[in-house]
């Protein structure tokens, strides 16, 4: 296992570049935790980054830490939570220096961006609905006699086409009750997942929306607290949710490729049946 703080370079000149990479890399949380383990938690009033770095801050934001005296770098190491504050300032600055460093330290940045953009596109498609626009012909005088009826019809149409989709499954209000024991709670989640089968869309846009709604339910579960569950069950559930979310993303990818949407729906059915079974099995597992 890597202990990030112990990788501090021997060479004094390497300290600033190493800290910069640590600030934007994926292991900053570990570095802060390790430095706190070594130096202890802060006691009393702590300096702020702006107070510590002072007038050098602009140079730091545009050109990195190389302009800082070594004594300031030492202060940052001894007060590791300042590293989080400094990271935020550096990232918000959006300077070319820090943005280039972020890209350099990211793990497979291009793949990350392509995958993330694809997921975002699907989620936006799920929430974006066209807004009906008024058309000129409804204002023509010779339509006056029909105006009232047309208005009512348009209002009904507009309401139906713009109202938010009814929440279902894990996204509906009260889907995650806090007053149940662990077993019944998991059984309830299984039952709610079964609401997938209540609608059977067979065209691509409707099926994509339905899968996205289920996928959002997975995010709800991943981010929820699950008070009725033990830490072990909670960890199991979140781990499983992440697997299911990945499968749903794969189904959406499949749906976007040429092929029969009903075939994709059948595949999603199978994923949902399995996850329901996993939840039911866990619900009756002996403690």
């Amino acid at each position: 296992m890597r202990l990030i703080a112990l990788e501090i370079p021997d060479e004094p000149a390497e300290l600033a570049p190493w800290l910069e990479r640590s600030l934007v890399g994926p292991d900053l949380a570990s570095l802060v935790a390790e430095l706190e383990a070594v130096h202890g938690e802060p006691v009393g009033a702590q300096p702020s980054v702006k107070g510590l770095i002072g007038r050098d801050l602009d140079a730091v934001l545009s050109d990195g830490l190389s302009s800082l005296p070594r004594s300031t770098l030492k202060q940052l190491l001894r007060n590791p939570r300042l590293l989080l504050e400094l990271q935020e300032l550096a990232l918000i600055s959006g300077s070319r220096y820090w943005d280039a460093l972020v890209r350099q330290e990211a793990v497979e940045p291009d793949r990350q961006l392509v995958r993330g953009r694809k997921n975002l596109r699907k989620r936006i498609a799920a929430v974006a609905r066209p807004i009906p626009k008024r058309t000129q012909w409804t204002r023509q005088p010779w339509f006056v006699s029909l105006a009232t009826a047309a208005t009512i019809l348009l209002a009904v149409f507009a309401y139906q086409s713009t109202r938010p989709p009814l929440a279902w499954g894990w996204s509906k209000p009260g889907a995650l009750p806090e007053n149940l024991a662990s077993g019944p709670y998991l059984a309830r989640l299984a039952e709610e997942a079964g609401e997938w089968f209540n609608r059977r869309p067979d065209d691509r846009p409707a099926l994509a929306r339905r899968i996205n709604e289920f996928r959002q339910g997975c995010s709800t579960l991943i981010l929820a607290d699950h008070k009725p569950l033990s830490p072990e069950d909670r960890q199991w559930l979140v781990g499983k949710c992440k697997e299911w979310a990945a499968k749903l993303d794969a189904h959406l990818n499949h749906l976007e490729a040429p092929g029969d949407p009903v075939q994709v729906r059948n595949e999603v059915d199978e994923t949902v049946r399995r996850l329901i079974q996993a939840l039911k099995d866990r619900a009756v597992r002996p403690v």
Binding site: I92, G94, D99, G116
Partner: protein, 193 residues
């Protein structure tokens, strides 16, 4: 980042396209495309920010949540500089995330602390808490001389100044540090799976 030479459309202009998507003469497709360009420009810094606060596993989901909030909020918002506004949304999402993780036990100021690191307790991030505890325990088991050198090095002290303070030769300080690193790594590996 407002604009770069290769990206002649500024963040604020792109945000404007997203914001006006429901107005007459605007298009949902160009709004979605503008959002994707903003995503392309700002996602990596955003992810870096989130990872340092909630870990890698949750950062992906939270990032998507933040971008969805951007999409939903822009029509009624006056965001100013886009990057700063994006991070404000991210901070709010982190506070919500922290509250969900520890409902009832996290006051508003503590939830905010998790975001800015000023008050955030490592317990909010279980993995980092375990790492911290393991390292503390292992450090306590080291010989006093070794622990002093490790603390000095991780404060940014050079071997020369550590050796002067401890009355040992710089080579000895160097050797002690690297031995201590090996001992700490193997100790932490025994404690953490």
């Amino acid at each position: 980042m407002a604009t770069t030479a290769s990206e002649s459309v500024s963040d604020e202009e792109l945000a404007g396209v997203v914001a006006r998507r429901e107005q007459a003469g605007s298009s949902m497709t160009s709004a979605a495309s503008a959002l994707e360009r903003l995503y392309q420009r700002h996602e990596l810094p955003l992810k870096s920010f989130l990872m340092a606060r909630v870990g890698r596993a949750d950062a992906e989901d939270l990032s998507q949540l933040v971008w969805l909030r951007v999409w939903k909020s822009l029509p009624g918002a006056k965001p100013g500089p886009f990057r700063a506004w994006l991070f404000e949304i991210a901070r709010n999402a982190l506070v919500d995330h922290a509250r969900k993780k520890r409902p009832g036990s996290l006051a508003d100021d503590q939830a905010g602390g998790i975001v800015d690191g000023a008050l955030g307790k490592p317990e909010a991030r279980l993995v980092e808490h375990e790492r911290k505890t393991a390292l503390e325990n292992c450090l306590a088991r080291l010989k006093q001389e070794y622990a002093v050198v490790v603390r000095g090095r991780l404060s940014g002290e050079e071997y020369d100044s550590i050796s002067k303070a401890q009355g040992i030769r710089p080579e000895r300080a160097h050797s002690i540090y690297h031995k201590a690193v090996k001992l700490l790594k193997s100790c932490v590996e025994r404690v953490l799976p």
